[in-house]
């Protein structure tokens, strides 16, 4: 049963899951990506979308960004504050809610299909197809690099992100076994 209270608390806990993922799992910064780190945080973003559905998922990610902007050091690598919105990764940050929304929407469209493949498709559509154009634009604008150069630089994220899509699908399947009632995108 999905009461307003339960919905609110679940949104809050997904914000915390995104934060905890960024806090605990280390962020890698590669020279190629121009200081946009590779983190587990996007896994949390995709998970919020596929678990909570489009609107609640996007809301959870927006709340996360708000908390980051407020100065909580919950962005991967213990970063936080308004300053992170001036870094080259800003395009990815701004598009996180959109990614979660698209993940949730795709997940709802595939609601009759088994969880693992649905989540895999949903997280790839939301977390890669919908996310990358914004991220590339952000790198290009902030670091002052041409678009194609930023796009090629962003390719370095692709293997990690595909792995994270599989990770999201595995986690969602585990949740389906343990707590099927918590997958709100299927209700």
């Amino acid at each position: 049963m999905m009461t307003a209270d339960r919905s609110l608390v679940h949104i809050a806990i997904h914000v915390a899951v995104i934060s905890a993922l960024g806090y605990y799992l280390p962020a890698f910064t590669t020279p190629v990506t121009g200081s946009v780190p590779i983190t587990a945080q996007t896994l949390g973003v995709m998970l919020a979308g596929v678990m909570l559905g489009p609107v609640r998922g996007a809301l959870a990610v927006l709340l996360f960004l708000l908390i980051v902007a407020l100065g909580m050091p919950v962005l991967s690598g213990g970063r936080g504050g308004i300053g992170v919105f001036f870094l080259p990764s800003v395009g990815f940050l701004i598009a996180f809610p959109i990614a979660a929304f698209v993940c949730g929407l795709t997940m709802q469209l595939l609601r009759r299909r088994p969880v693992f493949p649905s989540v895999l498709v949903a997280s790839m559509v939301g977390g890669i197809l919908a996310l990358y154009p914004f991220g590339i634009l952000g790198i290009s604008l902030v670091a002052g690099k041409p678009l194609w150069e930023s796009a090629i630089g962003s390719l370095v994220f692709l293997p990690g992100d595909i792995l994270k899509c599989f990770g999201t699908a595995l986690v969602a399947s585990a949740i389906e076994r343990g707590r099927p009632d918590a997958i709100f995108s299927r209700q």
Binding site: I13, A16, M72, G83, V142, V171
Partner: protein
């Protein structure tokens, strides 16, 4: 541990949170089209003077800036190798000034004050049927949940290490989520038992509304 506030009573602490945020917004808008190293340099010097006004708190600020300083140097180097150094200096100066200003604001403003300052900007949430009160509750819950989940993650990792001798990393995400979802349901029950997110409704009024949604 999770909060980044530098206690003190300097001039920067006393300015209202809203003014500081507005100021940063204004400066970032003005600086974006500026391409003169001289102007950008003087803005950076201004920001450094603000930093100096913190006195002994300066050290904390500088320490929290270490990772972003790396970013600035990196961008400078990137431009130096693949473009013109001048363009790199401009981008780096602009970035450094904004990052420094943003960090100063974050460190000298309490979370409560920041939330209060943001409330007038949060009106769009009303459009999707959320009250500001609920939003504030969700933010408070998320901030409270985060250290709890980090701790759960640490415990899961210790348990994993004692079994395998290695760190769990990504394998811990699924159990973490299950813990998190259980905790969320407990908190939701506790919240409902205390009258729900909207506070205690008179004579159970409004409870039905919650059930329907």
């Amino acid at each position: 541990m999770i909060s980044s506030y530098l206690s003190g009573n300097t001039a920067l602490h006393r300015i209202g949170a809203g003014w500081k945020l507005l100021g940063l917004f204004f400066v970032s808008m003005v600086l974006l089209p500026v391409n003169s190293p001289l102007v950008l340099g003087s803005v950076l010097i201004g920001a450094l003077l603000l930093l100096a006004s913190l006195g002994s708190g300066m050290v904390t600020v500088l320490r929290s800036l270490k990772p972003v300083a790396f970013v600035v140097v990196f961008i400078l180097a990137l431009h130096g190798f693949f473009g013109t150094l001048e363009a790199g200096v401009i981008v780096a100066l602009r970035l450094a000034s904004l990052l420094l200003l943003a960090t100063l604001i974050t460190l000298t403003t309490r979370l409560d004050d920041m939330l209060d300052a943001l409330t007038p900007v949060l009106w769009p949430v009303a459009l999707i049927g959320l009250s500001e009160r609920k939003l504030a509750l969700a933010i408070a819950l998320a901030i409270r949940f985060t250290p709890m989940l980090i701790d759960v993650m640490r415990q899961l990792n210790e348990a994993y290490r004692s079994r395998s001798g290695r760190n769990g990393h990504v394998k811990l995400v699924a159990p973490l989520c299950l813990h998190a979802l259980n905790a969320a349901d407990h908190v939701a029950e506790a919240l409902a038992a205390r009258g729900g997110a909207d506070g205690c409704p008179p004579e159970g009024a409004g409870r039905e509304e919650d059930e329907v949604r």
